[in-house]
């Protein structure tokens, strides 16, 4: 593409995007009403027209020269003086493209978790993160592990999907959301969710319907599937971009992925666990992985137990979902909820989980009250430790 064509596309993009826009009528009325109530302006709006601007600049230049030659201590901030007059050279905060802000303070809601959950996860802090979808927007919530209220910290537009990804590994988090019309968009944070920067995904990912991502210990892998007639693809994030890994026997119906920098990993698909030991190049099904969890003294593949308070880990291991509170742990494996106390030596099967298909999240906030997230976004609640479940806020 020639530079002229590229620039023409840019111009066409802006005109296509903006030319049809019209200011809401109330906008001008509100501005005029506010102007009527206000007094006369006490300053020039934009640094003066004609006369004042060069005078101001000359004045500042003289002050700057004096300051540089050490003539006066009060003359050391020429830019501030210029700012006071022109209001245009202020030092702007270094905001990334994604760090604008919506007006108003962050919203908080009591009672966890937010509705229509798509993902639950945890970062350092410790901090819980929830991703849900409401009224055409994806909403990212956080709360401290000990806190009771969720705060809405980010929003994004897009269609609903049960395949949205929210994944944290210590301070680094990834968020992958569907794009209207197909494809995916992604953001990454490296400071525990304080700032999120958009990240380009592999171009091929745009045509696939399912995305799973693994970011264990700064090794980021992305697999895409769910496209009929096309093999699933596996990518690794490198500093120069995404590098495709030729994967043998990678299943198409992807549910979750976990790959370590050492090349070992597992993948949940078709309700089965696939494992690899060579960085994702070869995959093989792991028979009886679920049974192994239940018979071992401690499910080694599950994440280490956290302090005795509520936590939620979204498929922290591929063997199931785990939630622990006050020394008691619940695990969802397959369609059943299991529980154990303290030692993890004995496990008791509580019963079937209310979700149909793979559960996407599990969280117990007390030893009696817990929530489970289905793979279609429904939330169920129990008040008796998991024996009976009911739909939460239909």
């Amino acid at each position: 593409m020639t530079p002229q064509e590229r620039e023409q596309q840019l111009s066409q993009y802006w005109h296509h995007t903006l030319d049809a826009l019209q200011a809401p009528p109330a906008l001008a009325e509100r501005a005029l009403g506010k102007a009527r109530r206000a007094g006369p302006p006490s300053h020039t709006l934009v640094g003066g027209q004609g006369f004042w601007r060069p005078v101001t600049r000359a004045f500042v230049a003289v002050l700057s020269v004096l300051a540089l030659t050490g003539t006066g201590f009060f003359l050391t901030r020429p830019h501030s003086l210029l700012n006071a007059d022109s209001r245009t050279l202020h030092t702007r905060p270094q905001l990334a493209a994604s760090t604008g802000s919506v007006a108003g303070a962050a919203k908080s809601v009591k009672l966890a978790p937010p509705m229509r959950l798509a993902a639950l996860t945890q970062s350092t802090g410790p901090k819980l993160w929830a991703l849900d979808y409401a009224q055409g927007f994806w909403q990212l919530w956080d709360k401290s592990l000990s806190g009771s209220a969720w705060s809405l910290v980010r929003t994004a537009s897009g269609p609903p999907s049960v395949h949205a990804v929210l994944s944290f590994s210590q301070q680094e988090g990834w968020l992958v959301l569907p794009r209207l019309g197909g494809g995916w968009k992604a953001w990454r944070t490296r400071d525990n969710g304080r700032t999120w920067r958009p990240v380009l995904l592999p171009h091929a990912a745009a045509t696939y319907g399912t995305v799973v991502l693994s970011n264990a210990s700064q090794a980021v892998y992305l697999a895409v599937g769910g496209r009929s007639g096309a093999p699933p693809l596996l990518f690794q994030k490198k500093t120069r971009g995404w590098v495709e890994i030729p994967a043998n026997r990678l299943p198409a119906d992807l549910a979750d992925l976990r790959l370590t920098p050492q090349g070992q990993g597992s993948l949940l698909a078709h309700g089965s666990v696939y494992v690899t030991r060579n960085g994702g190049r070869d995959w093989s099904i792991q028979p009886g992985a679920f049974n192994g969890v239940m018979t071992s003294a401690r499910p080694t593949a599950l994440s280490p137990l956290m302090p005795p308070t509520a936590l939620a880990i979204r498929t922290a291991s591929l063997e199931g979902l785990e939630s622990s509170v006050r020394g008691r742990t619940w695990v969802v494996v397959g369609n059943y909820l299991w529980t154990t106390k303290f030692s993890h030596r004995t496990w008791q099967r509580v019963g079937r989980v209310p979700t149909q298909g793979v559960a996407h999240g599990l969280i117990f906030t007390t030893v009696k009250t817990g929530y489970i997230l289905s793979n279609v976004g429904h939330v169920y609640i129990t008040h008796d430790g998991g024996y009976r479940w009911a739909r939460y806020h239909d």
Partner: protein
């Protein structure tokens, strides 16, 4: 003599759409654009009301809008942030690979880089007008424009 109230209304009505479009291009989100546009129109109305002899120019209006946007961005806390911009290409009827690629590439640019591209490719301002609007020298405008073009090209070509 023109009634100052009428003059303010005339100018606000005259520039409302253009201010809103520029605010939308800068903020890339409708709600935020409305905030910035209202603040800009307020400044324009207030100035025109008390200076009825003053005739607003396009570049002056753009400069007021730009300042309102920057003031707005500076005031906002770095939390509760929209993750993304809401491009018109997110509407299915506007879907095209080229526009999606442009939108994605623009997402990767900084506010300052996107700003010079908007001024140059959408508002069709000359570098001289851009320098006046942004209150920098023409040379600085050319440098910013060159860097923004280069970065846009790199991202745009890389995404295809």
């Amino acid at each position: 003599m023109t009634d100052p109230h009428d003059a303010a209304e005339v100018w606000v009505e005259h520039y409302a759409d253009r201010v809103f479009r520029l605010a939308y291009a800068l903020t890339q989100e409708r709600t935020r654009a409305e905030d910035v546009a209202q603040e800009s129109l307020y400044h324009i109305a207030r100035w025109c009301r008390y200076h009825p002899e003053f005739t607003p120019t396009d570049s002056w209006v753009y400069q007021v809008t730009r300042n309102a946007w920057r003031d707005w961005a500076r005031r906002m806390p770095p939390s509760a942030v929209p993750l993304e911009v809401h491009h018109a290409v997110d509407r299915p009827e506007d879907q095209s690979v080229e526009r999606l690629d442009v939108a994605r590439a623009l997402d990767q640019l900084s506010d300052g880089e996107r700003e010079v591209l908007i001024f140059f490719y959408y508002l069709d301002l000359s570098t001289k007008d851009m320098a006046r609007t942004m209150n920098i020298t023409e040379t600085a405008v050319r440098i910013r424009l060159s860097r923004a073009r280069k970065k846009f090209r790199t991202i745009f070509e890389g995404s295809r």
